[in-house]
Symmetry: C2
Subunit: 137 residues, 2 copies
DNA sequence: CCCTACCTTGGACAGGATCTAAGGCAAGGC
DNA sequence: GCCTTGCCTTAGATCCTGTCCAAGGTAGGG
């Protein structure tokens, strides 16, 4: 994620300690943190960082397509740095934890034009719901 | 939806005016109301009905599998009485409105066991995101 | 090294949903 | 029919997530 910051700076993003820390926290392969979790981990390294800044930064990373925002039914949204590889999610309905799943088909292709009702469809999200091993125990 | 109430009563659901009205409001084929919309419509017929009761009733209908709860990214959840026919959703990312889509494949079958990571998967949700004709105008 | 536009801050605020304690009423039993 | 019991409903407080705001801070071009 180190080049991410470089890339954004070239696009006119001012590089601050707060933004750096948020990006570092999100770095990883199967990371699906909530905004508050991001804030907690960021605060370990930069105690004065405010919630507002974390929310702002996450919102921008999402807008710029660098991070994926995933809704999880009434719980807090989760943020997924794995935005460049298309994938779906496995969501535990007990604890809300999440895993990435590689897609094996293209659901977008499965939507016949006759059923798009005039919508301009741009995106599909597939969520598998179930109970994770930890919660099943 | 009239038999729904009978069915639930047989399973020990106490039949009250409030619950009847909520069920009536949800009746229909492509209904996707938010809890507050349900409350507003219910209140037209039963002015004293409280929001808490609407939320309670919706929660129970969802638990009993009679109504589907659909999350919509930061907006209010929507409730879908079409719970017995499997289907997916088309969601407008501007106004939050929603339409049913009949599935043309079985995404559950598309999840190889090698990728379930020990989850006991019980359900898939597919959401097509886009802009509806009204908002595109 | 300075200036300015952009960032960060913390606290107030908003919307959605849940909780609580008190009173109300369905429905089975008499 | 009427009582009784325990489930329901109510209003309002409360919680959680996320956004807004005005004031002060600072990155980085000049």
């Amino acid at each position: 994620m180190s080049d991410l910051l470089e890339r954004l700076r070239e696009r006119g993003w001012r590089l601050t300690a707060q933004r750096r820390v948020v990006a570092e926290v999100l770095d990883g392969d199967h990371v699906h943190l909530t905004a508050d979790e991001v804030h907690a981990r960021a605060a370990e390294r930069l105690p004065e960082i405010s919630r507002a800044t974390v929310y702002n930064t996450l919102r921008e990373l999402v807008h710029r397509g660098e991070v994926l925002e995933v809704a999880t039914d009434g719980r807090a949204k989760r943020y997924d740095p794995n935005a460049h590889r298309p994938h779906h999610h496995l969501l535990c309905s007990r604890c809300g934890s999440m895993r990435d799943v590689r897609p094996t088909g293209d659901p977008l292709a499965d939507l016949p034009a006759s059923q798009s009702f005039g919508f301009t469809v741009s995106e599909v999200e597939v969520t598998y719901r179930g109970v994770c091993p930890d919660c099943a125990a």
